[in-house]
Amino acid sequence: MAKEKTVERKKPIEPGSWRHTLHEMKMNQACYWMMLPFFALFTFFTVIPVVMSLPLGLTSFNLVQFPRYIGLQNFYSLFVNDDVFLIAVKNTLIFAIFTGPFSYVLSFILAWLINEMNPFLKVFFTFVFYAPSMTPSAFVIWQLVFSGDSYGYLNSVLLDFGIINSAKQWLTDVTYMMTVVIIVQLWTSMGAGFLALRAGFQGIDTALYEAGAIEGIQNRFQELFTITIPAMGPSLLFAAVLAISGAFTVGSVGAALCGMPSTAYAVHTVMNHAQDYGSIRYEMGYASAICFVLFAVMLICNQLIRKVLSRFTDN
């Protein structure tokens, strides 16, 4: 009460109090109006479906009958009874470790190299490296390349040079499947993150480089580490989030190349597993549980990367 009197005398509003919050909200009224359209649509088409599907993980739901509550049984059988899930987790981790960081670093390096070129070549090379993401149907071609008979491009080339003496079953032999899928995955993963990084490079104020040159920066690498990376922290973070969600949700490439399920589940990922239960067996409760586990892992990963990146960049 005593405090209230002093407030009345000086007329400042204490930060942290609800009156302060209300005041701030009034000050920023325009912002709320500007955000309204987005968040209205976002709530209906993303938030509500996601929030509604989380409790589904605790039920048995086959799309026809009403969901039946079964507690943590889905999670229990996921980790204890489902051998395929454990294989899928192992595969997903392998994919994530190889494709995630690698495609992230690769797209950064490529975006940087392209940035050093003249305007025409910039557009051209950006197009070249983004092209695979514009042609989603194009990985049919990889099936021809890695085809198992001696007419498959890779097989015939290797046979001609005498490196191998019989055709290899690239897409069905367990020893090669993983490598092949990782290569194709890398090829398709140069999409959104790469383009976002290009935009990030483009947005850097050129005056910074001039200032750097005056300050005595000698070469491109010094310039990269002292000016470029700190200046594009936000873009780096964006590409990292994309890389994480891309790396953990791989699955469609493997399914398209090796079939679903693949031989001995060699390239079966968590995402494939969720699709298997969700759109083939219609056990939506179980599929939701799988997705929930995946989501949790991705969230942890995201927090880690955020911490690492914040050390190198401005914000």
């Binding site: 209906f44 996601v50 190299l113 050093e116 021809l144 939506m284």
Partner: protein, 325 residues
């Protein structure tokens, strides 16, 4: 003479003012005249301060080699679409066409012309949906991203967290619930079912938010001092500085919107989109092998054109130029 002029403070002031005016005029003229020229000069002065010619050539060769690897499938599907039926089934498949033909394309349009609903209807649907999604997305997302990156209102960090988290959530588990929500809102079998879910996506928002956060706060404060509201600051000050990001945003959203497949959301024939119908045509087996490639190439053209237009219009932005701190 000069000395007397300099010593007279009134005259010097007016002279300086005159000079400044003349300089401003000159700069304005220069800006109007050929912005490309200006950009080039800037680049050769700006970007290549710390580069060498040898380095440039090495980079070019490296990128060219990788580029061949990346472009190969694109090249292959274009080549395939020009092959006559006799060449399509040659084994092993050839990497070039011996006698190129437009047969596949004419067949595609012949099949398309015999459809129950006129083909132009599907084209209209796709174009309409794509344009509406792109415009709405850019407008809605830019507004929201400005607020999330530059306004400190109560709840701002919670909303930012929400956006990042939602990017990590996969659609496999949510599509059924999305359908339920849309059914409750009576949107199934309307254009809205195809348009609205693609308008508010967190990826585009996060992209814009991240890019806008690099803009100097002083510019925004200056705009506020000049009396611009949040909306005006966003569209007259911030957005013009965000050309690369907006071009990227347009590429993403256009590509996504162009590939929207009706799926379960629309089942009326005259609401279906071009990709849906193309995949239906292509699904009819090995006899239409050529048509599959032709339809893939035709569908690829619009996103490609948008990509090239958007990318080549991206000049170096002048973000933060005019700031002295």
């Amino acid at each position: 003479m000069a000395e007397t002029l300099v010593n007279n403070p009134v005259i010097t002031d007016s002279l300086e003012a005159e000079n400044a005016k003349a300089l401003k005029k000159l700069r304005k003229r220069q800006k109007k005249r050929g912005s490309i020229e200006n950009a080039k000069v800037k680049k050769s002065k700006g970007k290549h301060i710390n580069g060498s010619l040898g380095g440039d050539i090495a980079i070019f060769i490296l990128l060219a080699l990788l580029g061949i690897f990346m472009l190969f499938p694109l090249y292959y599907s274009i080549i395939q679409s020009f092959k006559p039926i006799s060449e399509l089934f040659v084994f092993p498949p050839k990497l070039y066409v011996i006698s190129p033909t437009g047969e596949n394309f004419s067949n595609l349009f012949k099949v398309a012309g015999n459809l129950w609903v006129p083909f132009s209807r599907y084209v209209f649907n796709s174009v309409f949906i794509t344009v509406v999604i792109t415009l709405m997305h850019v407008f809605v997302v830019c507004n929201c991203a400005y607020c999330l990156s530059k306004c400190r209102f109560p709840g701002y960090s919670a909303l930012n967290q929400l956006i990042v988290i939602s990017m990590l959530f996969t659609s496999t588990a949510t599509w059924i619930m999305q359908f339920v929500v849309m059914a409750k809102m009576h949107m199934i079998n309307t254009y809205w079912a195809l348009i609205l879910p693609s308008v508010a996506t967190s990826m585009g928002l996060y992209l814009m938010r991240q890019n806008m956060s690099t803009i100097n706060d002083a510019i925004i404060d200056a705009a506020k001092v000049d009396g611009a509201g949040a909306f005006r600051t966003c569209w007259q000050v911030v957005i013009p500085n965000q050309k690369p990001a907006i071009a990227t945003l347009i590429i993403f959203v256009f590509q996504g919107a162009w590939n929207v497949q009706g799926g379960a959301l629309v089942y009326k024939e005259d609401l279906k989109t071009l990709p849906t119908i193309m995949s239906q045509i292509a699904a009819s087996g090995i006899a239409r092998q050529g048509i599959i490639y032709a339809s893939a190439v035709v569908l690829m053209i619009p996103p490609l054109v948008i990509f090239l237009i958007a990318q080549s219009n991206v000049m170096e932005t002048m973000a933060n130029s005019g700031m002295k701190d």
